[in-house]
């Protein structure tokens, strides 16, 4: 029926002796937008950082269980390969300040020492920037440093950078929380459009944002997956009362 790209099985993770994600199992579907929603400190960010193995950069980090990408356990693969297939956009826009806009977009290739011809690079840069709705705004200043861009533009640049390496999945970690409403709206529009190319998993604590863009919503509370279903179902008829309380603003 639906294509599964990512399958999380009995997965737990945390730092030191503190377990932040507890025994989560869920499936992520291809070319869909899945939101991980929940109050602050519920383990959302840790959870998606496990999906491309950034979590383990922390020295105290641990994890248990499996995450399968196209049927293969990502923890048995080289993390470098995993991260090429599962890209990430962070909470605060973080284009490389020492690189031009152009170089930022193809950074995924240069960082990995992949040599491309000028035409290939030009094409990747143009395609990625167009997909990220940024091309028109920056096409005349491609070789300037990205730091003069506005926050929203910088974040779209980061999305273009993630798209450029043609990943299967892009993880968005509260990618709009540092942006103003207008920039946020633009990125939400972009997210919906992007699902034709990639699968999107995003973390948000903004319920209305989750409602606007997601196909599926997972509600995480204190590290546990409370409920996971189609967005409409979760938003209109949640089965668990904790979900309902969260949606109605009883806690946040």
């Amino acid at each position: 029926m639906k294509d599964r790209v990512l399958e999380v099985k009995d997965f737990s993770a945390g730092f030191g002796d503190k377990t932040v994600v507890k025994n989560v199992s869920m499936e992520i579907y291809k070319n869909r937008v899945t939101s991980i929603m929940g109050p602050s400190g519920c383990g959302k960010t840790t959870f998606i950082r496990c999906m491309n193995r950034l979590h383990e950069l922390n020295e105290q980090a641990f994890h248990k269980g499996e995450i399968l990408l196209d049927g293969e356990n990502i923890f048995k693969k080289n993390p470098i390969e995993v991260r090429k297939k599962i890209g990430m956009v962070f909470q605060r826009p973080n284009p490389f300040p020492t690189m031009s806009i152009y170089d930022n977009v193809i950074a995924g290739y240069t960082l990995n020492g992949i040599k491309l011809s000028k035409e290939e690079k030009d094409k990747i840069v143009e395609d990625s920037l167009k997909k990220a709705y940024l091309w028109e705004e920056v096409k005349d200043s491609l070789h300037r440093r990205g730091t003069f861009l506005s926050g929203g533009q910088q974040q779209r640049l980061c999305i273009a950078r993630a798209l450029a390496v043609k990943p299967e999945i892009i993880l968005l970690d509260e990618a709009t929380s540092a942006l103003d409403p207008k920039a946020t709206a633009k990125i939400e529009e972009l997210i919906v459009d992007l699902k034709q190319y990639v699968t999107i998993v995003m973390v948000t604590h903004n319920i209305s944002q989750a409602a606007r863009v997601s196909d599926y919503i997972a509600f995480l509370y204190l590290g546990e997956l409370v409920e996971y279903d189609k967005a409409d179902t979760i938003l209109t008829t949640p089965k668990d009362e904790r979900t309902e309380e969260y949606l109605t603003g009883k806690f946040s």
């Binding site: 491309n52 950034l54 950069l57 020295e59 470098i80 390969e81 991260r83 090429k84 890209g87 990430m88 962070f90 605060r92 973080n94 284009p95 490389f96 300040p97 020492t98 690189m99 950074a107 995924g108 240069t110 960082l111 990995n112 020492g113 980061c158 950078r161 993630a162 390496v165």
Partner: protein, 285 residues
């Protein structure tokens, strides 16, 4: 209360300005005789002969610049390695602690101890190497001094660079890791470009230290007052000629020439610092 503190701080500030001016005036006044006699020719005069009364600073300027830059060149890979080890690869843990305190300790060793160690351990080794290559086995000389100097300046560069590496936002590193970069690629393409001005600052700090280093260099450089013709030849630096000959300088012109070398050393150090600051400003992100 607040006013009083402000006043004292202000006074201290002015006091340092006066001190600096005092040093410059003393140096210029002390070297007046030599400046009058030799003029600008003092800077490129190759001869230093107290007996005939001919004084030129070129051998010492050359000696100072060669030893300092050579020391910088030799120490750089090591200081970078230590910094990357402490700042990126092993941030915590016993090994990191030990290495960190060891490099700090290196900075605390008195210069004369370095000189002594150089004389007792390094010089014999150099002599053996020189004999093997069929060079006159002085043991002491430009290269020996540069090697000792390079060890002495490692802690300066490495501690500053380690600090600078810690300033790289984890955001940026994660962005690179997130794109599938390896640790070495992250260092090469993200961390080093981001920190290059800080690294340059570390290098200039070390250069400033190397230029003025006296005791250790004096003990192992050979104290020959001529432009060195090879790296293995003995030579002399500005600082070491002053330390070595100041007590012997009985004649007015001799003393004045030594003071003028001090003045030149001061000027060179100021220029190095100035250029350093300029570069740092230009490259800062």
């Amino acid at each position: 209360m607040d006013k009083g503190v402000k006043r004292i701080l202000k006074l201290t500030g002015y006091l340092f300005l006066i001190l600096l001016a005092g040093i410059v005036i003393t140096l210029v006044y002390g070297s007046a005789a030599s400046i009058r006699k030799f003029g600008l020719g003092f800077i490129w005069g190759k001869e230093w002969n107290p007996v005939s009364g001919h004084f030129g600073a070129l051998p010492f300027i050359v000696g100072t610049l060669i030893t300092s830059f050579l020391a910088l060149l030799i120490s750089f890979p090591f200081s970078m390695a230590i910094s990357l080890f402490l700042g990126e690869y092993f941030k915590k843990g016993l090994i990191a602690k030990i290495i960190e305190s060891a490099t700090d300790l290196l900075a605390g060793i008195p210069s004369v101890v370095y000189g002594f160690w150089g004389l007792m351990v390094f010089v014999p080794v150099m002599r053996k190497i020189e004999m093997k290559f069929g060079i006159l086995p002085y043991g002491v000389g430009i290269l020996t001094a540069s090697l000792i100097l390079s060890i002495m300046i490692i802690p300066y560069t490495s501690s500053l660079v380690t600090e600078v590496l810690k300033l790289v936002p984890s955001d940026l590193k994660e962005a690179a890791y997130g794109l599938g970069a390896t640790r070495f690629e992250v260092i090469k393409k993200v961390i080093l470009p981001y920190t290059k001005s800080g690294i340059l600052a570390g290098l200039f700090l070390a250069l400033g230290r190397a230029l003025g280093e006296t005791m250790a260099v004096t003990m192992v450089i050979g104290n020959r007052n001529a432009i060195p013709h090879s790296l293995f030849a003995p030579g002399n630096t500005m600082a070491s000629v002053i330390a070595n000959e100041f007590t012997e300088a009985t004649e007015n012109l001799y003393l004045s020439s030594l003071i003028e070398i001090g003045l030149l050393l001061f000027v060179i150090t100021v220029i190095v610092n100035y250029i350093g600051n300029k570069i740092i400003k230009r490259y800062s992100v």
